[in-house]
């Protein structure tokens, strides 16, 4: 059962196999925790939201369409849980999640496609340096980039998770790249 696909495990669980759910939780709890941590920026809150996300997923498993991708669906639940948490904590206004993308055609279409300087990868403190640079990005840009590069979702899946039009996601991705490049570029090697 350990090697079965997520969707198959959901079917097993719905047939009464409780271990299937444990396997699914084990498979995803770390990535979901990381996603929540990136979203809310608080380790304790991220743990609570991760728990909440899995509980919500467990409650809705009967409604899950096994023709869809479980991972995308789970991330969608986690994203909604993060928003619920932030709304309740009132740490950021709800408007931050909406309409933050302008219509700057130039910015949306212009990304420097040259490779990153080798010095970036040679840095001893690359991880913390990156952490700092990425954390300077707006949360919505940051999340798109994480979902794309770290969790290996495509733009269509990210659009589904974040419940936004695909063009908005692409725009955020481009803007994220520009900002990140700027952050990296500002550092003197």
């Amino acid at each position: 059962m350990d090697n079965d696909s997520d969707e198959k495990l959901v079917e097993y669980f719905l047939d009464g196999e409780k271990r299937a759910l444990e396997i699914l939780v084990f498979r995803y709890f770390k990535v979901i925790y990381n996603f929540c941590y990136r979203y809310v920026g608080d380790a304790n809150a991220a743990e609570d939201i991760t728990q909440e996300s899995f509980v919500k997923a467990w409650k809705s498993l009967k409604k899950f369409d096994t023709n869809k991708k479980f991972k995308t669906w789970l991330f969608q639940i986690a994203k909604n849980s993060c928003i619920d948490y932030l709304r309740k904590k009132k740490t950021i206004p709800f408007s931050r999640f909406e309409n933050e993308d302008g219509d700057n055609v130039f910015v949306d279409n212009f990304v420097d496609s040259s490779p990153l300087p080798d010095e970036v990868f040679k840095r001893k403190d690359l991880s913390s340096f990156l952490e700092g640079a990425i954390n300077k990005l707006p949360v919505n840009h940051k999340m798109v980039m994480f979902l794309y590069y770290k969790n290996e979702f495509n733009f269509r899946e990210i659009a589904e998770i974040l419940n936004e039009p695909i063009d908005t996601i692409k725009s955020r991705y481009r803007r994220g790249l520009i900002s990140l490049r700027k952050e990296i570029g500002e550092y003197e090697y």
């Binding site: 759910l21 709890f29 509980v55």
Partner: protein
């Protein structure tokens, strides 16, 4: 360029959850599963409590009527009016009291009473469980 950024992100260290997170999630799901059962049980016990409460009231009325009809109350009142006679013939008096006692009706009303108390205890325990779960959820920001 795409590869560069992928490589860049792969260099980012993952945030490490606490060692107990997996167990916490499984326990939490178990708790929520219990909550679902408890909620259903609350509805069931509430229904039984209402029914048994009506039964209890009805059985009390029945006991009251049976006590009057069987003459038990008249015999019993002798204790206060003619205590000396009751004390002299206490064995006969006790037997008469027992004979006139509407045993079946009293037993039924005691069973009803224990049912009401039993359902009430179960209900209180379940409500307490739901409350404690709600407090935990509230403390965690949900």
């Amino acid at each position: 360029m795409e590869k560069d950024y992928k490589k860049l992100f792969m260099n980012l260290e993952d945030a490490r959850p606490s060692d107990e997170l997996f167990e916490k999630i499984i326990l939490r799901i178990g708790r929520e599963e219990r909550m679902t059962v408890v909620k259903k049980r609350i509805i069931f016990f509430s229904f039984l409590l209402i029914v048994s409460s009506f039964g209890l009231v009805y059985s009390f009325i029945a006991v009251q009527e049976a006590l009057v009809n069987s003459g038990f109350l008249q015999f019993f009142s002798l204790i206060f009016s003619d205590f000396s006679i009751v004390a002299t013939y206490w064995q006969n008096f006790l037997l008469t009291l027992l004979e006139s006692l509407p045993v079946i009706t009293v037993v039924i009303s005691l069973v009803m009473l224990s049912l009401v108390l039993g359902f009430l205890t179960f209900l209180m325990k379940d409500i307490q469980f739901i409350n404690s779960n709600n407090i935990i959820r509230k403390n965690h920001g949900f």
